[in-house]
């Protein structure tokens, strides 16, 4: 199980989701991806994205103006 990191700060909708999808495609099942965003709509969007794709959103946090997501890739 490897932890991958994606810096999606300064990117706007829909780029954080698209970049996350591209990163997830290169990962193995159960690897995790930590995504950092500044897009204000990203929290709702990542919840929806994980809901639709079956990946698990382990956590979502806000630190200052940053939104941080931990996603586990589904099997």
């Amino acid at each position: 199980m490897t932890q991958h990191v994606l810096d999606a700060t300064e990117l706007n909708c829909p780029m954080p989701i698209l970049k996350a999808k591209q990163a997830l495609a290169k990962m193995e099942a159960h690897d995790t991806l930590k995504v950092t965003c500044t897009d204000k709509g990203s929290t709702k969007d990542f919840i929806a994205f994980c809901h639709q794709t079956g990946n698990t959103l382990l956590s979502h946090d806000t630190e200052g103006n940053q939104f941080i997501f931990n996603i586990e890739k589904s099997a």
């Binding site: 300064e10 829909p14 999808k21 639709q52």
Partner: protein
């Protein structure tokens, strides 16, 4: 196409502003596991050209478009000039290019992805981009004008694909 996992979009508009929705929604749907097809017809066909420099936006006849300066002091950037400028002003030669340039600067400042970027990602994610064969003939385009990786077909093909789609949008 598997039953009800499809999204089909008709892209019919070819201005800079309306170029975004088909590519944004299409790429995002593909990222979320949908099988996406975008059918480009009439002015939408221009979105598949290799050269996108002709994509423009005009406040002419578009009173909803805010006109804010993408640079300068904050107080200046906050002013919306749209209701202050008579619409007839946008008839003056060069105003369309000016408005387009302002829109592009605003997008760049806000880190909005370009149409080229979004279109490339769509292709990368397997979004099927179909150019309307009839419109190509009508507008006098040739296949060399278009990017690689797209398909050419007509309304029947679109309808056949749309049969397996549970999101069908006309943009």
């Amino acid at each position: 196409m598997s039953e009800n996992n499809g999204m089909t979009i008709i892209a019919s508009k070819g201005t800079l502003d309306w170029a975004f929705p088909p590519f944004i929604v299409g790429s995002t749907a593909a990222a979320m596991g949908k099988e996406v097809t975008i059918f480009f017809t009439f002015y939408g066909l221009g979105l598949l050209l290799k050269d996108l420099s002709s994509l423009r936006v005009s406040p002419q006849g578009n009173p909803a478009m805010p006109m804010k300066m993408p640079f300068g002091p904050k107080w200046l950037q906050n002013i919306d000039f749209a209701p202050k400028i008579p619409n007839i002003m946008w008839n003056i030669p060069g105003m369309e290019l000016f408005a387009t340039s302002m829109m592009k600067k605003t997008m760049k400042k806000n880190n909005i992805a370009t149409i080229e970027e979004l279109r490339d990602i769509c292709l990368e994610m397997g979004v099927k981009l179909i150019a309307c064969e009839m419109t190509i003939g009508m507008f006098g385009y040739s296949r060399e004008d278009f990017i690689d990786g797209i398909e050419y077909a007509g309304a029947a093909t679109y309808l056949d694909i749309a049969q397996g789609s549970n999101h069908d949008l006309f943009i």
